[in-house]
C-alpha cells in the first residue's frame, strides 16, 4: 500500500514560510499542550523538535512526494529533563511492533545518550505537528513509521546534542570542538570535566535551536543496528503495570456495551429494553443509529444487561448471503473480464504458442484481526464542547475529524490520549473511526459521565472489518528455459477503500490498488501480463489486515511459481533466482534464506522444504519452511528460516521479533483461520470457532537480517506474505498437490 500512497499527487505540500531545518523551543508552546509538556517546562527541561525540509529528504534519497507537515509550530520530539531522563514523543501507535523503542533508538544515537536514560511517551493527537508524512494526517500503518521518522528524529537528536555541547562549552569556557558526548555524559577531556545531560538541560533550553546539524555516518553508529538494547516496555508489560485503553479508569466513568445487528447492514427496528433496565447496576439503555447501548456501572453488568435486550432487526438492507453463496457469485464474476490492473503484451497469443500452461484457482477466506485487547475507548465530554479520548488510537487524524463531526466541534477540540495498544494488525486503523466514533456517539447521547465502550470478543469476531474474501484465477505459461511467457490473473474481492475518504487516492480506473498490490506489480518478468479485478460490494465490512493485499496476492503468486517451476522441471529456488536477476535485493534474501535453511540437503521421509520470496512495503523477505506431512495428511510446520532486507536495521532484536511474529501470524491463519457466514450471520463467535495459532503450532523460527545502510523501511508487515506460501510449497513438494484453498483445515490437513 505504501508505494501506492506515495505515488499520489494529493499529498499535502508544505506551505508555511518558516525556516527549514531544525527549529522549535519550549517557550513557543501553545498553552493547550499536554500536561507533561507543561511539566517539562516548569522543571526546566530542554525540549527539542525538528522540522523536515523536503530538500533534505530528497537529498537523503527519500521517495519523492514526502514533505513536512505544513505548520509553523515546533515539532517537539525530545524532552531532556533535569532528572536526566530523555523522553521521545512517539507520534506512532505502539501496538506491539516496538516502534516506541525504535524511535527512541534513532534519537539516542544522534544524541549520544545512554540507553538506560531513554523513555517513550505518545505524542498528542495533532496531524499538523505529528502527521505521518506518507498519509498527510497522524496515523500509523503501512509499515511506514521508521521510514517516516528516520530524518526528523535524527535531526532532533543531533540538535539537542549540539545544544548540550554548546551549553557545556560555555559553562567551562572551552571551544565547542573540544567537547565530546558519550553515553549521556558531556565531557571535556583536557580539563577532565564531565556533566550529565540533566544538569545542562535548564541552561540548554535557553539557547536557540540550531538550524543545521550534521548527522552521523552509519559507520559511527553505536546504538542503531546494534544488539543489546531492551525494549522500553519490557518491564511494564511483565508486571501488570503497563496501561492499555482497557485499563483506563476515569472518575465516575460508566461502561457501555453496544448491541449491533447480527447481520451486516441491519438496523434496529424495535427494542424491548424492560428486562435489561431491570438488571441491577444497569444505568441506561440508549437506542442509537449504531445500535442499542447498555450503560452500566461495570463491564459484567453491561454485558448482562445486553443479554436481556429483546431487539427486532430490520434486515432489508443487510447481507443475507452465506460465504458459500458469495463464493459462487465470485466464480460467476470471474468468468467475465474485470477492471484492468496490468496489461502488457498479448496474453492470448502467448498462450496459443505456450509450451506448458498451468491453471489454478485460489480461495482466501474472510479473516478477523482479533487483537488480544478487544476494541475499546473511553470518551469524556469537555466543557468547551469537545472531548478527550483514551484509546489505542492508530489513526488519530481520522478520529479527530470523525468525532468532531459527531460532537459538532473542531477537530482540535478532540483530544486523544494514545495508550499502548494490545495488538491491532490493522484493525485499529479505520477509515471512519469505527469503534471510537461509537464511543463518542454513546458519550454524547448519555452526556452524564465519561463512557468506556467495550467490545467483547464476540463483538470483535462477529463485528466485521475483515480481510476480504478473495478469489484468484491464474493461468500462466512457462517454457523449457524457465521463462514465464504469459500470466493472466483475475482477482475478485471487496474493496475496503470504496466509499471512504481514501477512495480517490486508492482507486484508479476501477482498480483498488490494495486489492492487486503484489500481483499487478510482481517482480518476476512476464512478457505478456494481464491482471484484472472485480470488486463486488457487500454490506460485510472489510479492512486492511497485516500486509494488506499481499496477504493473498503473494500466496497466489508464490504457490503458482512453484507449480511453474515444476512444470519447467526446475528447482524452486533456482527457478526464482533465474527470474530475479534484475532484482538483487529479492535475490539476495532468497539466497540467504535458502543457504541458512540448508536448501537442497536431504530430509527424512515425510519432510520437505518450501520457499517463497516477496517485496512488500519496500522490504524484501524470503521464507523457507520445513514441513512434515504425516500419513494422515496432517501438516506440521517444524522450522522456518526467514531472511529480511529492510534497509538500515534500527533495532535488530525488534525486527527479529517482528519476523517471528509475522511468521506465526501468516502460518496460523493459513492453517485454521477463517470467518464464514451462513444466511448473513457470522458462524464463529469467539476463539473456540475462529481458531488462533497456539504454542504447540509454533515452529522454530530463525531470522537473518541483511546488513544494509539503505534507508530503513518497514518491518511490521513484510514478514507475513511469504510465510504461508513457503509452507504450502513444502506441502506441494511432498504431496504434489498445490494448496489452493485456505485455510489448510478445509482440506483436512490440520
Amino acid at each position: 500500500m505504501l508505494h501506492h500512497l506515495l505515488r499520489q499527487a494529493a499529498l499535502p505540500v508544505a506551505t508555511d514560510s518558516t525556516p527549514t531545518g531544525v527549529t522549535g523551543a519550549l517557550r513557543e508552546l501553545a498553552p493547550s499542550r499536554r500536561n507533561f509538556l507543561k511539566t517539562a517546562a516548569a522543571t526546566g527541561a530542554l525540549v527539542v523538535g525538528a522540522r523536515l525540509p523536503s530538500p533534505a529528504l530528497a537529498a537523503g534519497g527519500a521517495p519523492a512526494g514526502i514533505v513536512g507537515p505544513a505548520d509553523p509550530r515546533p515539532h517537539l520530539f525530545v524532552i531532556i529533563a533535569p532528572d536526566n531522563t530523555v523522553t521521545v514523543l512517539a507520534k506512532h501507535l505502539d501496538k506491539g511492533q516496538g516502534i516506541v523503542t525504535g524511535l527512541a533508538t534513532i534519537v539516542a544515537e544522534e544524541l549520544d545518550a545512554d540507553w538506560a536514560q531513554m523513555r517513550g511517551a505518545f505524542a498528542p493527537a495533532d496531524s499538523k505537528l505529528y502527521g505521518n508524512h506518507f498519509f498527510g494526517i497522524q496515523g500509523t500503518g503501512g509499515s511506514t513509521a521508521i521510514a517516516n521518522s528516520w530524518d526528523e528524529l535524527r535531526m532532533a537528536g543531533a540538535a539537542a546534542r549540539a545544544m548540550l555541547v554548546a551549553t557545556a562549552a560555555a559553562r567551562w569556557n572551552v571551544p565547542v570542538g573540544e567537547v565530546t558526548v558519550a553515553k549521556g555524559v558531556v565531557s571535556h577531556a583536557a580539563s577532565k570535566r564531565s556533566v550529565a545531560f540533566g544538569e545542562l538541560a535548564q541552561d540548554a533550553a535557553k539557547l536557540p535551536i540550531p538550524q543545521n546539524v550534521a548527522l552521523k555516518a552509519a559507520k559511527d553508529y553505536t546504538l542503531i543496528g546494534k544488539p543489546g538494547l531492551h525494549r522500553l516496555d519490557h518491564i511494564s508489560k511483565t508486571d501488570g503495570s503497563a496501561v492499555f485503553a482497557m485499563d483506563i479508569r476515569r472518575p465516575g466513568q460508566v461502561t457501555a456495551v453496544l448491541a449491533r445487528s447480527p447481520r451486516f447492514g441491519g438496523t434496529v427496528k424495535s427494542v424491548d429494553d424492560k428486562a435489561a433496565r431491570a438488571v441491577s447496576g444497569v444505568i441506561d439503555v440508549l437506542t442509537l443509529p449504531v445500535g442499542v447501548a447498555v450503560i452500566a456501572k461495570n463491564t459484567w453488568t453491561a454485558i448482562k444487561g445486553r443479554e436481556a435486550l429483546k431487539i427486532t432487526w430490520d434486515d432489508s438492507k443487510a447481507e443475507t448471503r452465506g460465504t458459500d453463496q458469495m463464493l459462487a457469485d465470485y466464480r460467476k464474476l470471474a468468468d467475465q473480464p474485470g477492471a484492468v490492473a496490468a496489461n502488457s503484451g498479448d496474453v492470448a497469443k502467448a498462450f496459443a504458442s505456450a509450451a506448458k500452461v498451468v491453471e489454478s484457482e485460489f480461495v482466501f477466506p474472510y479473516l478477523a484481526h482479533a487483537p488480544m485487547e478487544p476494541l475499546n475507548a473511553t470518551v469524556a465530554l469537555n466543557a468547551d464542547g469537545g472531548c478527550t479520548i483514551w484509546a489505542g488510537s492508530q489513526f488519530q487524524g481520522v478520529e479527530q475529524m470523525v468525532v468532531a463531526h459527531v460532537l459538532g466541534c473542531k477537530p482540535e477540540q478532540v483530544k486523544i490520549e494514545t495508550q499502548w495498544a494490545g495488538g491491532s494488525f490493522g484493525r485499529r486503523a479505520t477509515t471512519n473511526a469505527d469503534y471510537i466514533a461509537e464511543a463518542a456517539i454513546i458519550a454524547k447521547a448519555y452526556g452524564k459521565a465519561p463512557v468506556h465502550l467495550v467490545w467483547t470478543r464476540e463483538d470483535d469476531i462477529q463485528g466485521g472489518r475483515y480481510r476480504p474474501l478473495f478469489l484468484h484465477r491464474i493461468k500462466a505459461a512457462v517454457d523449457a528455459n524457465g521463462a514465464i511467457s504469459a500470466w493472466q490473473q483475475r482477482i475478485v474481492g471487496q474493496s475496503f477503500m470504496a466509499g471512504t475518504p481514501f477512495e480517490k487516492m486508492m482507486i484508479k480506473n476501477g482498480v483498488d490498488a490494495t486489492s492487486v498490490e503484489g500481483a499487478s506489480d510482481m517482480a518476476y518478468p512476464v512478457s505478456n501480463l494481464a491482471v484484472d479485478l472485480h470488486s463486488p460490494p457487500s454490506p460485510v465490512t472489510t479492512l486492511w489486515w497485516r500486509s494488506v493485499g499481499h496477504t493473498h496476492t503473494a500466496y497466489a503468486k508464490e504457490v503458482m511459481i512453484d507449480q511453474l517451476a515444476k512444470a519447467a522441471g526446475k528447482d524452486p529456488v533456482a527457478f526464482r533466482l533465474a527470474l530475479l536477476k534484475d532484482h538483487p535485493r529479492l535475490a539476495n534474501v532468497l539466497k540467504l534464506a535458502a543457504d541458512k535453511a540448508g536448501w537442497g540437503q536431504p530430509l527424512p521421509k515425510g519432510k520437505a522444504r518450501g520457499v517463497a520470496v516477496h517485496e512488500s512495503f519496500n522490504t524484501y523477505v524470503a521464507h523457507v519452511a520445513e514441513v512434515t506431512v504425516n500419513d494422515k495428511g496432517h501438516v506440521t510446520v517444524d522450522r522456518v528460516v526467514v531472511a529480511v532486507d529492510c534497509g538500515q536495521v534500527v533495532n535488530p532484536d525488534v525486527v527479529t521479533a517482528q519476523m517471528e511474529g509475522a511468521t506465526g501470524w501468516g502460518i496460523g491463519h493459513a492453517l485454521r483461520g477463517e470467518i464464514t457466514l451462513t444466511d448473513g450471520v457470522v458462524d464463529q463467535t469467539n476463539f473456540d470457532g475462529f481458531l488462533p495459532l497456539r504454542m504447540s503450532d509454533m515452529p522454530k523460527v530463525e531470522v537473518h537480517l541483511v546488513d544494509s545502510h539503505e534507508r530503513p523501511t518497514g518491518a511490521g508487515e513484510p514478514g507475513v506474505p511469504t510465510s504461508a506460501p513457503a509452507v504450502a510449497n513444502a506441502v506441494f513438494a511432498l504431496t504434489g498437490k498445490p494448496v489452493q484453498t485456505l485455510p489448510f483445515s478445509r482440506g483436512g490437513m490440520v
Binding site: 511483565t238 501488570g240 482497557m246 479508569r249 485487547e373 511474529g661 506465526g664 469467539n686
Partner: protein, 153 residues
C-alpha cells in the same frame, strides 16, 4: 458482601456471586493487570493463581471461591519462581503488544513451580491455553526454559 484474599490482602466486594473474578479484580478492585481477552476461558489472558493453581478468572464466579482461597494476580506474583520467570521474560524481550503476557507469565510461573525442567511437550501442554496474537511463542518457550534453569541453579 463477599470476602476474598487477593495478593495476601483480604478484600470485601459488594457484587453478585456470579460475577466472574476477572471483573471483580478489574472493575471493583481496580487491579487491571489481569486482562479480559475472550470471556470464555479460550485465551488465558485472565490467568491468575487460586491457591497456586493457574485459573481462568473469566470463568470463575467470585462466589465459587472456597473460603480462605488465596488469589494471586500478576501484580502480586512473587517468590523465586516468579522472579525467575519475570527476569527471563525481560532478558529475552518476550513482549510485543504485551496484553496477553500477564496471563502467559502466570501460566509459566505455575508450570515452573511444578516442573523445573519442562520439555517442549510439557510447555505445549501447560501453555496451549494462552493465546498470543503477536505469536511471541518462540520467546515464551525460550524464556520458560531460561527461568527453569535459573530455578534449578
Amino acid at each position: 458482601m463477599i470476602r476474598i484474599t487477593v495478593n495476601g490482602q483480604e478484600r470485601q466486594v459488594d457484587v453478585p456471586e456470579d460475577m466472574p473474578l476477572l471483573w471483580v479484580l478489574r472493575d471493583e478492585l481496580n487491579m487491571t493487570g489481569t486482562k479480559f481477552g475472550c470471556g470464555i476461558a479460550q485465551c488465558g489472558a485472565c490467568t491468575v493463581h487460586v491457591d497456586g493453581a493457574p485459573t481462568r478468572a473469566c470463568q470463575t464466579p467470585v462466589g465459587s471461591l472456597a473460603a480462605g482461597a488465596k488469589v494471586t494476580t500478576i501484580e502480586g506474583a512473587s517468590g523465586k519462581v516468579a522472579e525467575a520467570v519475570r527476569a527471563a521474560w525481560q532478558k529475552l524481550d518476550v513482549v510485543q503488544c504485551g496484553y496477553c503476557q500477564s496471563g502467559q507469565i502466570m501460566s509459566a510461573i505455575a508450570l515452573v513451580s511444578s516442573n523445573t525442567n519442562p520439555t517442549d511437550a510439557d510447555i505445549d501442554a501447560a501453555m496451549d491455553g494462552n493465546v498470543c496474537r503477536c505469536a511471541t511463542y518462540v520467546r515464551i518457550r525460550a524464556a520458560i526454559k531460561d527461568a527453569a534453569q535459573s530455578v534449578r541453579a
